[in-house]
Symmetry: C2
Subunit: 207 residues, 2 copies
């Protein structure tokens, strides 16, 4: 066992290998933190070795940067912004997304928090390169939220005098706050606090 010679010819694909490393790194970093994970940990979760890793990324930091730009940033947008376009009233969409993606999720899926928020807490204050990319990802999310709120305003679901940029900031803020609290609490009541309070807040935005 274990000494089965691999006689099959190994194919080589730079991009696929890169993606395999990024996928493995995402889960390891997501569950254990960037500083808590070693390069060896990551390659162990792939079919590759350290040589492949450093052929793709000059340093561990560069992997972290790629993780933010290529995985976490688009993932966050696909998860929280793209689905909103299906709803005629974006405010309803936001609440429904929260209900579906958080309220109906298993505690196990939630207890590692939000990938973007995790790295923001851990890496933004101690590394400039991380901070720049995390800021860009966060603003990308907030910008998307603002666009949807703009649409809500045009459709008459939000009053004209409302500062939608500020609302976008606040909505994202509550998301991050929720995920943060849940890590220590894993109490479903925290979800109700988020959902009901945000709903109550949204009421004040209606014409």
């Amino acid at each position: 066992m274990g000494n089965s010679k691999n006689t099959t010819k190994k194919i080589r694909d730079l991009k696929k290998s890169r993606q395999e490393i990024l996928d493995a790194a995402f889960w390891e970093v997501f569950t254990r933190g960037f500083q808590g994970v070693s390069v060896d940990d990551i390659v162990k979760k792939t079919t590759l070795t350290k040589g492949a890793f450093y052929h793709q990324f000059p340093t561990k930091m560069d992997l972290g940067y790629a993780l933010v730009d290529e995985v976490i940033k688009p993932m966050t947008y696909r998860r929280w912004i793209d689905p909103l376009q299906k709803y005629e009233n974006p405010l309803e969409g936001i609440l429904l997304l929260i209900k579906n993606l958080i309220g109906k999720a298993k505690p196990q899926e939630l207890r590692y928090g939000c990938p973007l928020n995790n790295l923001m807490q851990e890496m933004a204050p101690i590394d400039k390169g991380f901070k720049e990319r995390l800021e860009a990802s966060l603003l990308y999310w907030i910008d998307g939220m603002e666009q949807e709120l703009k649409r809500a305003k045009k459709s008459g679901y939000v009053r004209d005098d409302v500062n939608i940029r500020q609302v976008a900031h606040f909505v994202v803020m509550t998301h991050e706050g929720f995920y943060g609290m849940l890590k220590a609490l894993d109490d479903p009541k925290a979800f109700n606090a988020l959902y009901d309070s945000l709903k109550r807040y949204f009421e004040t935005l209606k014409p």
Copy 2:
């Protein structure tokens, strides 16, 4: 230089040494994270050595636990709950506290986030001992907030049908969310989003 013999008799005080270590550890962990700081880093910031450290704490983890129980937990309460008692209307107090402790703070003081939130993000998912203590600290904060909201209700500043436990959850949630966002943003506009939105939310709680 550097070889000045220390001829003064060194005094010994177990409790004072413990406090010195805890104080130094707090700042190092606050600014660089628990996993990002070594025991050697911490003792270098004190007048003591590694021997003293391990005489006080069996492991590095035990120091972390003490940090939560003896420093961060009471600090959070003194900072966010105790001052509320001075205000007749706790809702006003909460907003004023935010304005004073966040709005008037220098960016430098804010960019390392919230000590409690930092450790929650970093350590709660990967260590049970941390999680238990962080949860206790967070609930201590929320409980205090709930007490103040109870007082607000009795004084007629909050409607009777409002679920104050949920409001307490939400208020703490927005705090943590704000600190989290600020780490990547250091944009003063994030503060306005917190302050104005929370104020707007509070309006819905009034009779």
